[in-house]
């Protein structure tokens, strides 16, 4: 059974004037355990809506999402919050670290909310931060460190609860190329270690670092590519070609 199953997902928003906007029309795909998947598409194609639905931050108009056999669409507010905290890890473009907490407290936040004991937290914090190269920065505040370091802290926060699925929304969007490369390398590492990963991105570079790319357009999955045995460079080219086709308006699948 696939880890994540998305089936016939539909989301319609009603604007203030009563005008209905279909953000997602009919999205169906699955993600296997240990996979790494990127979702690509233009602004307004429904990527963020999809991510919000996967995170149970929002409820779909129709269709269902199951993670590890559990239906997310029926979760109540507090169950959804617990689900986010325990099963999902989030990484955002703008890091979304709390400026009032040190990096350490930011990373520990999900564990504290889940009611972990201080010793357990310590047991998880240290190895993770060693892996992410954060050990010397734990007592710093977000405004005292660089963008790349902030994003690494955000990854640590996302992973400390040992989530089934790591979701990343445009994770390299606010980083320079050096920090981007480093973050993508990190994602490859954690994925190789068994972490299932799904990212939403504009960046071909970022997308070419994963195993499979889904293209979304006008609220439906338009196309998908597997990396297979391709090198990163070849895969990059293939994605670029697909994107060209996508934006140049190929109506065929």
């Amino acid at each position: 059974m696939a880890l994540l199953e998305v089936n016939g997902l539909k989301k319609t928003y009603h604007s203030r004037g009563g005008q209905a906007v279909e953000a997602l029309r009919n999205v169906t795909f699955t993600v296997e355990k240990g996979e790494s998947v990127a979702v690509m598409g233009e602004s307004g194609s429904g990527k963020t809506t999809l991510l919000n639905l996967l995170a149970a931050l929002d409820k779909p108009t129709a269709g269902r999402v199951t993670l590890d056999g559990r239906d997310l669409t029926g979760l109540s507010g507090s169950a959804a919050a617990a689900f986010r905290r325990e099963q999902l890890g989030f990484v955002f473009q703008e890091f979304q670290l709390l400026d009032t907490f040190t990096l350490k407290d930011n990373i520990l936040l999900p564990l504290v909310l889940s009611g972990f004991k201080p010793q357990e937290m310590r047991g998880r914090l240290l190895p993770l931060c060693e892996q992410l190269g954060l050990l010397g920065l734990l007592n710093k505040y977000p405004f005292e460190v660089s963008g790349g370091q902030k994003q690494r802290a955000a990854v640590a926060r996302a992973m400390i609860s040992h989530p089934k699925l790591l979701l990343a929304d445009e994770p390299t969007g606010a980083l320079d190329s050096h920090a981007s490369d480093e973050l993508l390398r990190l994602f490859c590492e954690v994925n190789a270690a068994g972490q299932t990963l799904m990212m939403v991105t504009h960046s071909i570079k970022a997308a070419s670092s994963v195993r499979r790319v889904l293209f979304i357009k006008d609220g439906v999955i338009f196309h998908q590519l597997y990396r297979g045995e391709l090198t990163e460079r070849q895969f990059y080219q293939k994605i670029a070609d697909a994107l060209t086709l996508l934006t140049a308006g190929g109506d065929e699948r």
Binding site: N52, A55, L57, G77, S78, A81, A82, F83, R84, R85, E86, L88, F90, F92, Q96, L97, L98, D99, T100, F101, T102, D105, L108, L109, P110, V112, L113, S114, G115, F116, P118, M121, Y141, F143, R157
Partner: protein, 680 residues
């Protein structure tokens, strides 16, 4: 053309930020109005007709100055919020190519618009309010009513000048910020890279110590006169202590809690404590201001209301009989038995002439002297007096002859000639077997009597000792060497008090008549030379009502202003916090905090932030209570119960009002922070 552009930019800027600029405008206008009100009442013709008009006038003058100072501080405080939001806009203009000079021009226009607008908008309602207030004051204090509307031009000009000055200072402050800011910093504007709160345990501890010191003063100082003298030092300590405690102490406390891993890393505490340390760092000063304003309102209102509602009781303490006459001889020995007899007859005749009868006469004849008591020696000269560390060391000695003593206290004491019966003030001891007057003689003490219980001897600010001697001439002999010294310290006094059997309204003519008939000039030579103090309960009550009415009125007005100040601080606080917390709550939600948890955490933080000052103010009030009570005793108020009741009433009313303000303003906060921060 270009100048008009700047004016337009200033006007649209203010309009766009109306959530900030409008409350500021109304604050300033309100303060202008109240400032005018005080300056108007200072010179209002209607006040002339009130008893104790000079006292009311000087009270209003003090009030106007206190308010001007408060306005300065408060407008600076609220203007800083406005500036913080405007800075970003200025940064944009700067990036688009405007020089700092141009920004200065915009700011100047803005200040001019706000300043001129609020002064104009404040003066008009101020004038109407002033008339209402005048009628209110006259009604509360008694006096003729005049319904005409006067505009007091000098008062209006003075008010405009005060606020013109304040706005010039505000502009200077704003210009300084623009001139010294780096361009990029301007664009980034709000809250960028704020330093994390650092725990300053030293200052926090100092705050605790300062407050403890002030509280000790309030509790340990048992003498009314000392209480009055130490009230302002104690208030200064409380002010400093509150600021230190809320600014440094609260952050230090949060930091300590964060160090306790077992406490901090818990679901219920983590977010709240973590956020609180920043909140307190930013808000400590504002919270301390709220706390002190609240304390001021509470102490002022409860004290003034007690004075006003306690007048009846105070009148009874002050005048145990309806008419109280005190004759003080110019030279000891002049109020002889015959003279006193003749004066009493004169008083009775005059009373009868007014249709009354002097009944329940209560009189005593005494020699009195004040001196500093040190180990059984009494120093009465200036030098000795200066050595007194506290007022409680200065005693009043009242010498009575034994017959008078026995009569007053219903006792049957006897004494050997040349010896004294000494009645010490409550709780005092006498280490010697004699009373020795430095520079005078001494009297051996035969024995100690019970503490004086007559209210005459217990209500004064100074401890009073009653010394009974066989005959007053013995006391005169001991005291006579002191007579020539500076200040004519030995006083021969005859108190003669009685009830008249007349209605309150008929007392005043009798009072005037007695004052005229007994004036030293009229009776000169016939009954000895003396000075007279004549007090009538009804007359005193009338005068006190007007004075305390004025005080209560002033307290009410000031309370109203301070309350408005409190409300606005609370409002601005909620507003600025709401903006700052928007993104934080969005993040917490994404990380997996439920709406309920967020709401709970927000609630506990807001409750702490807003009720901490009130709790501290209540504590301040509690410790001020004994001190104020003792000061009130100076005014003849002894019913602690009445004062306690009034204080409690003020506290409850204030608490309810505060709660209301909190409820109303926390909606602003929720709207901004929780709903505004929700990811779309």
């Amino acid at each position: 053309m270009k100048r008009l552009l700047f004016l337009r930019l200033a006007a649209t800027g203010l309009a766009r930020n109306r959530q900030m600029s409008l409350p500021f405008f109304f604050t300033a206008a309100g303060m202008v109005g109240v400032q005018y009100l005080f300056r108007y009442l200072q010179a209002a013709p209607a006040v002339e007709g009130v008893y104790g008009a000079p006292a009311v006038r000087s009270l209003m003058a003090i009030g106007a100055n206190v308010l001007a100072f408060f306005s300065l501080l408060f407008l600076f405080y609220t203007h800083s919020f406005l500036m913080r939001r405007r800075k970003k806009e200025f940064g944009l203009y700067h990036a688009l190519g405007m020089g700092k000079r141009h920004l200065g021009i915009i700011l100047a226009w803005e200040t001019l618009l706000l300043g001129a607008g609020s002064i104009a908008a404040g003066l008009v309602p101020g004038m109407l309010l002033a008339k209402l207030a005048e009628l209110g004051l006259v009604r509360l204090a008694g006096g003729p009513v005049d319904y005409g509307l006067h505009v007091d031009l000098p008062a209006a000009l003075a008010t405009a000048a005060v606020f013109g000055g304040i706005f010039v200072l505000l502009l200077a402050g704003g210009l300084r910020q623009i001139l010294f800011a780096r361009s990029l910093a301007l664009l980034q504007g709000e809250a960028k890279g704020e330093k994390p709160p650092r725990a300053n345990y030293l200052l926090g501890g100092l705050g605790v110590l300062t407050l403890a010191g002030a509280y000790c003063i309030a509790v340990l100082c048992t003498n009314p006169a000392d209480s009055l003298a130490l009230f302002f030092p104690a208030a200064a300590l409380v002010t400093a202590g509150s600021y230190l405690l809320l600014m440094a102490g609260s952050v230090a406390l949060c930091r300590l809690l964060q160090k306790k891993k077992g406490y901090y890393y818990r679901r219920a505490h983590f977010v709240s404590v973590g956020f609180m340390s920043w909140r307190m760092k930013r808000n400590g000063a504002g919270l301390a201001s709220i706390c002190l304003l609240s304390t001021m309102v509470l102490v002022m209102l409860s004290g003034a209301a007690s004075l006003y509602f306690g007048v009846e009781e105070a009148a009874k303490t002050r005048c145990p009989r309806e008419m109280c006459l005190t004759f003080t001889a110019e030279q000891p020995g002049e109020l002889t038995d015959q003279n006193r007899q003749a004066l009493a007859e004169l008083v009775q005749r005059e009373t009868a002439a007014c249709g009354g009868a002097a009944a329940e006469v209560w009189s005593y004849h005494s020699l009195q002297i004040a001196g500093v008591v040190k180990e059984g020696r009494v120093m009465t000269d200036r030098q000795g007096m200066d050595e007194a560390l506290t007022f409680s060391q200065i005693w009043q000695f009242v010498f009575l002859d034994l017959q008078e003593y026995n009569r007053l206290y219903g006792a049957a004491e006897s004494l050997p000639a040349g010896q004294a019966l000494l009645c010490l003030p409550q709780g005092c001891e006498w280490p010697q077997s004699q009373i020795a007057f430095a520079g005078g003689g001494s009297l051996p003490v035969a024995r100690l009597g019970a503490a004086p219980t007559l209210s005459e001897f217990t209500v004064t600010a100074f401890p009073t000792a009653v010394v009974a001697v066989h005959d007053l001439s013995e006391a005169a002999r001991v005291l006579s060497p002191l007579k020539g010294q500076e200040g004519q310290l030995v006083v021969e006094q005859w108190d003669y008090a009685f009830n008249t059997g007349l209605s309150d309204a008929a007392q005043k003519p009798l009072y005037d008549r007695l004052c005229a008939a007994l004036a030293g000039k009229v009776t000169a030579g016939r009954y000895g030379r003396y000075s007279l103090s004549c007090e009538n309960r009804a007359v005193w009550r009338g005068e006190s009502l007007s004075l305390f009415g004025g005080v209560l009125y002033l307290a009410l007005l000031l309370s109203l202003v301070f309350l408005c100040g409190t409300v606005l601080i609370v409002y601005y606080k909620q507003l600025s916090e709401g903006y700052e917390d928007q993104s934080r709550f969005g993040i917490l939600q994404q990380v997996g905090m439920t709406d309920r948890e967020i709401r709970k955490s927000v609630n506990s933080q807001l409750l702490t932030v807003f009720f901490l000052p009130l709790a501290l103010a209540t504590l301040h009030l509690g410790f001020a209570f004994p001190m104020v009570r003792r000061v009130l005793r100076l005014f003849g108020l002894h019913q602690a119960g009445l004062y306690a009741l009034i204080t409690l009433g003020c506290l409850v009313a204030f608490g309810l009002f505060y709660l209301l303000v909190y409820r109303l303003t926390s909606n602003v906060y929720y709207r901004l922070a929780v709903r505004g921060g929700r990811p779309s």
